[in-house]
């Protein structure tokens, strides 16, 4: 089955973003360069990447009312998590 191009691009973007926060500094550095080149190669890459970064930005923002503490957000998610 042929997969839609936006889905393929989203998967690539997700892989890059995960590499960006790898534990090894050399790996992170390599990912930063690769990610930048990948984004520059195609406008769809750039918009997909921006969307995913925005999503993570909003996830981080849920800690803001708690001054950056993650515990209220964690507790809230745990309260309605499916078992």
């Amino acid at each position: 089955m042929m997969r839609a191009r936006p889905d393929i691009v989203a998967e690539q973007a997700a892989h890059w973003i995960v590499q960006l926060s790898a534990d090894d500094p050399a790996e992170r550095e390599q990912a930063r360069a690769g990610y930048a080149a990948w984004k520059a190669a195609d406008p769809l890459h750039a918009t997909t990447a921006a969307g995913m970064e925005n999503l993570l930005g909003q996830l981080h923002a849920v800690r803001e009312p708690a001054g950056g503490d993650h515990r209220p957000a964690r507790a809230a998610l745990a309260a309605i998590a499916p078992q």
């Binding site: 534990d23 993570l56 981080h60 849920v62 993650h70 957000a73 809230a76």
Partner: protein
């Protein structure tokens, strides 16, 4: 709603005039709160108008209305549980915070969490945990791997999965 077709508009209007009062009564019995019942009835009709195609060939309008209203009731209950848990934990931190968070900030956080919870609901527990431990708690990938008793490579797979699930379920957040 300028794009709405007259025929659809008429259908909504007759649905509204025939069943709105009945739906509010039904919801009032469920909620024991007249304002909540009126709001939810409003939301139910709004949902119907925005879904548009749902009206055609509707045989049992009241069964249909209650199906949607029940779903909204469930969403609302879930949001209340989420919000209560968030606020309870936030209250524990109140003394260590420089100032009280604004209601707007809290509302935004609760709404985002609701969306994220929905997106993560379809994932396995480890993928969900990996995502939250890494991106919310900012644990390094190897630490997440140790906590979940999987390889770092597996953690990365989970993170990709979760990112894609969020993008899929919350297109508004990934725009």
């Amino acid at each position: 709603m300028s794009t709405i077709q007259p025929s659809l508009q008429q259908q909504v209007q007759s649905l509204y005039s025939d069943h709105h009062g009945w739906l509010v009564g039904w919801l009032r019995k469920k909620l024991s709160c007249p304002h909540g019942a009126a709001d939810l009835a409003q939301d139910t009709f709004l949902r119907i108008i925005t879904s548009r195609d749902a009206l055609f060939g509707m045989r049992e309008p009241r069964a249909y209305l209650t199906t949607i209203a029940k779903r909204l009731l469930l969403d609302r209950a879930r949001r209340q549980v989420l919000e209560r848990a968030y606020l309870a934990e936030l209250a524990l931190l109140a003394d260590s915070l420089p100032g009280a968070p604004s209601p707007d900030e809290v509302l935004m956080a609760v709404q985002a969490l609701e969306q994220i919870a929905g997106a993560l609901a379809g994932l396995c527990v480890k993928a969900r945990d990996a995502f939250l431990l890494h991106y919310l708690e900012e644990l390094p990938q190897a630490a997440v791997a140790a906590q979940l008793n999987v390889s770092t490579r597996m953690v990365q797979k989970y993170l990709v999965q979760a990112l894609l699930a969020c993008r899929h379920a919350c297109p508004g957040m990934a725009a």
